[in-house]
């Protein structure tokens, strides 16, 4: 789960990391009031869960409260990479001396957290990582020991930080790691961490991603989820225990298991070529109860791009005839006229296919293999697209 900049920074502040004393505004009037209270210049920053806000015009420096109001008016409601800005953060502008990068994340290969620092903060850190890997100092952290003092000094020394700042920097690094652990984060990042011209260290921008699996023990963070910022189908899916990601293709896919779901997507692309592809990733998880299938179907059909639906269920322990009955029940609840292909594998798969065939649903056919199923779904989608073009 991603946190907004303001959520991340306010969280950092709880752990003793110095941040600008900004506030969020949901209206231009609020922005005006905050700018007046803080004193100008201020920075008006779009709060949206996507990168590249600056380039998109989502970050502006205002010299007066009136200007802050004006910029807030421009930014609020703006769409950045498809997401609508509903809040701005008004921060006092800082006198930036130097920009540092500081972040904690998981090093999968090592199975440990890693803290990284670079004297070249502010720009795209991935770019620095690619072009000058030595400019990023890394310290792997023993999860039992935590970040040790000497490691924070190694970072400070590694990025050639003047000694006068070591103490403050070490404290920030230590607190960032504490925040990362206490928040069950998979990423806690300050970029840039600036040295102001007044010689203070300040976390100017912040980003946190929380481990979804740990939200059960992070109620305070779980509440921060910005459901406005995620497509409403994804919210719905999450609440139903379904993994769903909307994509741009035409074939609605319903699959059990994430790997098989991706494979099913890949098959529609393999046979669909440039034109036809998956409309979504959807993993209904274990079992195939009618209610869950129905919820998944509703979500798939809410996408107007969908031209055909592909069920790919590997029953595993579950019996194929039960799965088939679950799907028929769901179709009863959520009727559709879109062409559908169902592929059932597992125990009693043949009985399952017989049940589907006997139901005589005109727009539902079964397939024996994934290849056959994908090809059929592509064909249906292609026909539907052609028909649409013909109708135009």
């Amino acid at each position: 789960m991603n946190l907004h900049e303001y959520q991340s920074k306010f969280r950092f502040a709880e752990f003793g990391i110095p941040i600008p004393r900004g506030k969020t505004a949901s209206t231009p009037q609020e922005a005006y009031e905050i700018a007046r209270e803080l004193g100008c210049p201020v920075v008006v920053k779009a709060q949206v869960l996507v990168g590249g806000r600056g380039k998109a015009g989502g970050i502006k420096v205002a010299r007066t409260p009136e200007q802050a109001e004006e910029y807030a008016n421009q930014i609020l409601g703006m769409k950045i990479k498809g997401l609508t800005v509903r809040k701005v953060l008004i921060d006092p502008a800082a006198n930036i001396g130097q920009e540092i990068y500081l972040g904690v994340t998981n090093d999968r290969a090592a199975g440990k957290p890693v803290i990284m620092a670079s004297s070249e903060g502010g720009v795209e850190i991935e770019q620095v990582a690619r072009d000058k890997p030595d400019a990023i100092i890394r310290e792997r952290i023993d999860p039992f020991l935590g970040l040790l003092d000497y490691q924070t000094r190694n970072l400070a020394s590694g990025i050639n930080l003047p000694y006068e700042h070591w103490r403050a920097f070490s404290k920030i690094a230590t607190n960032l790691y504490k925040c990362y652990v206490a928040s069950d984060a998979v990423l806690a990042e300050i970029n840039p961490l600036v040295i102001t011209k007044e010689n203070q260290l300040l976390a100017l921008d912040g980003k946190m991603i929380i481990d979804d699996n740990a939200l059960y023990r992070q109620p305070q963070l779980a509440e921060m989820r910005d459901t406005d910022a995620e497509p409403k189908e994804e919210t719905e899916a999450r609440l139903a225990g379904i993994s769903y990601v909307k994509l741009n293709g035409q074939i609605g896919c319903m699959v059990n298991g994430a790997g098989l779901a991706m494979t099913t997507m890949d098959m529609t692309r393999l046979y669909g070529g440039e034109e036809i592809g998956p409309a979504n990733f959807l993993d209904i998880g274990g079992g195939a109860q009618a209610s869950k299938v129905a919820a998944a179907l509703r979500i798939i059909l809410s996408d107007p791009n969908v031209k055909s639906v592909l069920f790919n269920i590997f029953g595993g322990i579950t019996r194929g005839d039960e799965v088939a009955r679950g799907i028929l029940e769901a179709l009863n609840e959520v009727p559709t006229r879109l062409p559908m292909v169902i592929r059932l594998v597992g125990t009693n798969a043949e009985e399952g296919r017989a049940i589907i065939d006997n139901a005589n649903i005109p727009n539902l056919t079964s397939a024996a293999t994934l290849t056959e199923a994908a090809k059929k779904a592509v064909e249906y989608a292609r026909k539907a697209l052609a028909a649409e073009r013909g109708a135009q």
């Binding site: 998981n106 999968r108 290969a109 199975g111 440990k112 957290p113 991935e126 990582a129 690619r130 023993d142 999860p143 039992f144 652990v181 069950d184 998979v186 481990d211 979804d212 699996n213 740990a214 059960y216 023990r217 993994s243 990601v245 994509l247 699959v255 059990n256 298991g257 994430a258 790997g259 098989l260 779901a261 991706m262 494979t263 997507m265 890949d266 098959m267 529609t268 692309r269 393999l270 592809g277 998956p278 990733f281 993993d283 590997f314 029953g315 595993g316 322990i317 594998v345 597992g346 125990t347 293999t369 994934l370 290849t371």
Partner: protein, 285 residues
Amino acid sequence: MAILVSKDTRLIVQGITGREGSFHTKQMIDYGTNLVAGVTPGKGGEWVHGKPVFDNVKKAVDATGANASIIYVAAPYAPDAIYEAIDAGIELIVCITEGIPILDMMKVYEYLKHSNSRLIGPNCPGLLAPGIAKIGIMPGYIAKPGNVGVVSKSGTLTYEVVYALTNAGWGQTTCVGIGGDPIIGTNFVETLQMFEEDPETEKVVLIGEIGGRAEVDAAEFIRAHMTKPVAAFIAGKSAPPGTRMGHAGAIIEGGEGTATEKIEALLSAGVRVADNPEQIPSLLH
């Protein structure tokens, strides 16, 4: 012959009285697995499917000589169950549980390094050694004894491939679902090494997916150390970069971890890579 398990494997089930634990206990016994006991705190003295239940792993080990454990315990309690198994000296621990927080798993992983235990998983379907033992949740009928080793990050996609192999006449020595979480107990390289060393295994199938760089590491290992032919399938070619795909492991990290990158690494290591999982059996010829 199989890797990881043998006829000497004596399995206990942690969480045997739970719904899932009890169900799969029956399935594993029916498959012929040498399942000797179960553990559920406070239920010591009960019996499940004819197997004794103990209050803790140590008692179960003392009473039965168990050397393997499978864990069906909810995520908040699963790390404790893993530590209990490690501390009791269990050699092979298979953890089915999904949804264990990464921070917990990093600690488990660190602890494991200094132990004599091997962990498979978590969030995995477990192991299936056709004709020998089933330790996990893979449906037994999809497999048959043979000479192909299968290792996979995935669940149902594994069944898909194993089923395709079986239908095409390729039996398996062992099918290992290592799980797709960011932190897992046993990775591709370790499993490939076991297959390379296993005299019965003649060919190997690797099933990967986007996210992380485990498949690239596997490719490097295959190039440098494997003499047996390897075929592979990588799921997620059509996934957009950076989108989370349900598996915690399936995040594309900082430009690394795309399907294309993995496929290229495998191809250049001499691995035959399928476009379609159903194509895998034909690549073994």
